[in-house]
C-alpha cells in the first residue's frame, strides 16, 4: 500500500513555544489511525501541520512522496475541525454549506439531500447554522467533510456533542468509507472514541505526550 502522508522530524509550535517535538509518522492508504492525547498534548497542532494550517519549524510533510502543497491538500483531504466557534454565527443555511463545499471541490458524487440523509441531517437543510444544537452542528460538519469523498479524512474530536445514535451512525459511515479504500485519521482526547469508531483490529493507535509521539498498537 502506498504511503499517503509522511512526517519527517516535524517540530512545530506557536510564538516560540514548541508543541510538536521531532515527530516521525507514516500513514498508509486505506489505514485508520487514531491520535490520542490529553489537552495541550499537540493533537490539533499535529493535524493542522499535516494540512498546512500550521507551518512547521523543522522537518517536512510529504503527501504521496512529494513535499506538501496546498493543491495536494485540496485534492486529497477533508477535515472536521475541533474548534468552529467563528462559523456558528455566520448567516448561512446547512444546504448552502454543503453546496459551497461542492462548488469549490468540483466533485460531489451525491446530491445535497441524499448526502445529508446519511448523517440524519436532511431535515436541517434550510436551517441556519446559528439555529442548530451542538450535536446537529457537528453532524453538518461531518457531512461537509465527507461530501467530496476525499482520499484522506481528518476528524478532530468527531464525536463532540453527538448522542449515542449519532455516534453509531458515524461508525457505520466510517466503516463503509474505510472499506472503500479511504484513509481516516481521528484525533481525540477520549480513549472511548477508539472503541466507538474503530473499523477493525488493524486500526492503529498512537498517543501524543507533551508533543512526542508514542506508539500504542
Amino acid at each position: 500500500m502506498k504511503t499517503v502522508i509522511e512526517l519527517k522530524n516535524i517540530s512545530a509550535g506557536y510564538n516560540n513555544a514548541l508543541v510538536l517535538k521531532d515527530i516521525n509518522l507514516a500513514i498508509k492508504e486505506g489505514e485508520q489511525l487514531f491520535v490520542l492525547g490529553g489537552n495541550g498534548s499537540g493533537k490539533t497542532t499535529l493535524v493542522k501541520t499535516i494540512l498546512g494550517l500550521v507551518k512547521q519549524d523543522k522537518g517536512e510533510v510529504l503527501i504521496y512522496g512529494e513535499r506538501r502543497t496546498q493543491e495536494a491538500v485540496a485534492s486529497n483531504f477533508g477535515y472536521v475541525p475541533q474548534s468552529t466557534s467563528g462559523i456558528r454565527t455566520f448567516p448561512i443555511s446547512v444546504s448552502e454549506v454543503i453546496k459551497i463545499e461542492c462548488s469549490m471541490a468540483d466533485n460531489c458524487p451525491v446530491g445535497v439531500i441524499e448526502h445529508l440523509e446519511k448523517f440524519n441531517a436532511e431535515h436541517l437543510m434550510d436551517r441556519k447554522l446559528s439555529d442548530l444544537s451542538g450535536g446537529e452542528f457537528q453532524r453538518v460538519l461531518l457531512a461537509r467533510a465527507f461530501v467530496t469523498q476525499p482520499q484522506v479524512l481528518v476528524l478532530d474530536e468527531p464525536t463532540n456533542n453527538l448522542d449515542v445514535e449519532s455516534i453509531h451512525r458515524l461508525h457505520e459511515i466510517i466503516v463503509d468509507y474505510k472499506n472503500s479504500g479511504h484513509t481516516i485519521i481521528t484525533i481525540s482526547h477520549d480513549d472511548d472514541v477508539v472503541e466507538e469508531t474503530r473499523v477493525d483490529s488493524k486500526s492503529r493507535v498512537v498517543k501524543l505526550e507533551e508533543g512526542t509521539l508514542v506508539n500504542l498498537d
Binding site: 510564538n15 496546498q70 493543491e71 462559523i87 455566520f90 448561512i92
Partner: protein, 270 residues
C-alpha cells in the same frame, strides 16, 4: 428654487451619481467586512488615508491618487504585519491608523494654506465633487463590482470559514488582501462625498442593518445596498437643505435607519 430644479443642478447630479455608486460598493464590501469582524480595519484605512490626502494636496494639488496609494499601503501593511508578527490585528490597525493620521496632521500643520480643503475631506461636501470624481467612481465601481461578481463564491468561503477555504485550495491570504485593497479603493472614492471621519459609518451601518433584518448572507447584500442608497440620497438632500457636511448627514440618516431596524428586529422577535 423648486425641488426638481434642485435635483437637476450639476453638482447635485454629480453627488447623487457618486453617492449611489459609492453606497452600493461600500454596502456590499461592508457585508464581507463586518462578517469577518474587521470593521475597525475600515476606520484604520480611512483615517490613515489622511496622510495621502495631505501629501497629494501639498505636492500635486490632487489628493485622491495619493490617498488611494496610502490606503492600499495601509491595507497591505496591516496584512503583512499580521502574518509576520504576533501583534494582534486590532493593535496593528490602531498603529497604522494613528501613525498615518498623525502624519497627515503634521503635513497639514506644516502647510497651513491647505487647511480649508482638508476640513472638507474630513466630513465630506456636496460641492467638492467634479466630473473627475464621477469618472473615478464609475471606474472603481466597475472594477470592484466585476471582481466581486466573478469571485463571489471564493470571497464567501474565505469570509465564512478561512481554514476550510484553505483546505479546498483557496489562497486565503491573497483573497483577504484583495478584499482589503477593494475596501481601500471604495473608501478613497467615498472620501470627497463622505469624508475621512465619516466613511466607516457607511461601510459598517448598512451591513449591520442587513444583519438585523436579513435572514441569510445572500439577502444581506440587497438589504445592505438598499439601506446604503437610502441613507446616501436622503443624506445628500439633508446636506443641501441644511447646508451641513454631507458625510455627517448621510451617516446620521444611516444611524436612524439602524435604530428603526433594531426596533423592527425586536418586534419580530417578541
Amino acid at each position: 428654487m423648486n425641488i426638481i430644479d434642485t435635483f437637476t443642478q450639476p453638482f447635485m447630479l454629480q453627488a447623487l451619481f457618486v453617492g449611489i455608486l459609492v453606497g452600493i460598493l461600500l454596502a456590499v464590501l461592508g457585508v464581507f467586512i463586518t462578517l469577518r469582524n474587521k470593521a475597525f480595519l475600515v476606520d484604520g484605512i480611512s483615517h490613515g488615508s489622511l496622510a495621502g490626502i495631505a501629501i497629494g494636496l501639498v505636492l500635486f494639488g490632487q489628493p485622491l491618487m495619493l490617498a488611494l496609494m496610502v490606503a492600499v499601503l495601509i491595507a497591505v501593511g496591516i496584512t503583512y504585519f499580521q502574518k509576520n508578527s504576533n501583534v494582534q490585528v486590532d493593535s496593528l490597525i490602531g498603529i497604522f491608523y494613528t501613525v498615518f493620521f498623525a502624519l497627515g496632521v503634521l503635513i497639514i500643520n506644516l502647510s497651513s494654506s491647505y487647511q480649508p480643503d482638508i476640513t472638507r475631506y474630513l466630513f465630506g461636501s456636496l460641492l467638492f465633487l467634479d466630473e473627475g470624481s464621477m469618472y473615478l467612481s464609475a471606474g472603481t465601481f466597475f472594477i470592484v463590482f466585476i471582481l466581486i461578481l466573478f469571485n463571489y463564491s471564493k470571497l464567501l468561503y474565505v469570509t465564512f470559514d478561512p481554514e476550510a477555504a484553505y483546505i479546498r485550495g483557496i489562497k486565503v491570504d491573497r483573497w483577504e488582501l484583495l478584499l482589503n485593497i477593494m475596501t481601500s479603493m471604495a473608501i478613497v472614492i467615498a472620501l470627497k462625498l463622505i469624508g475621512v471621519v465619516m466613511v466607516s459609518g457607511l461601510v459598517i451601518i448598512p451591513a449591520s442593518i442587513a444583519r438585523l433584518l436579513a435572514r441569510d448572507f445572500k439577502s444581506m447584500i440587497p438589504v445592505s445596498i438598499l439601506a446604503s442608497i437610502t441613507s446616501t440620497i436622503l443624506g445628500i438632500v439633508l446636506s443641501y437643505y441644511l447646508d451641513v457636511p454631507s458625510g455627517a448627514s448621510i451617516v446620521m440618516i444611516a444611524g436612524i435607519i439602524f435604530l428603526l431596524s433594531f426596533l423592527l428586529h425586536k418586534i419580530r422577535l417578541f
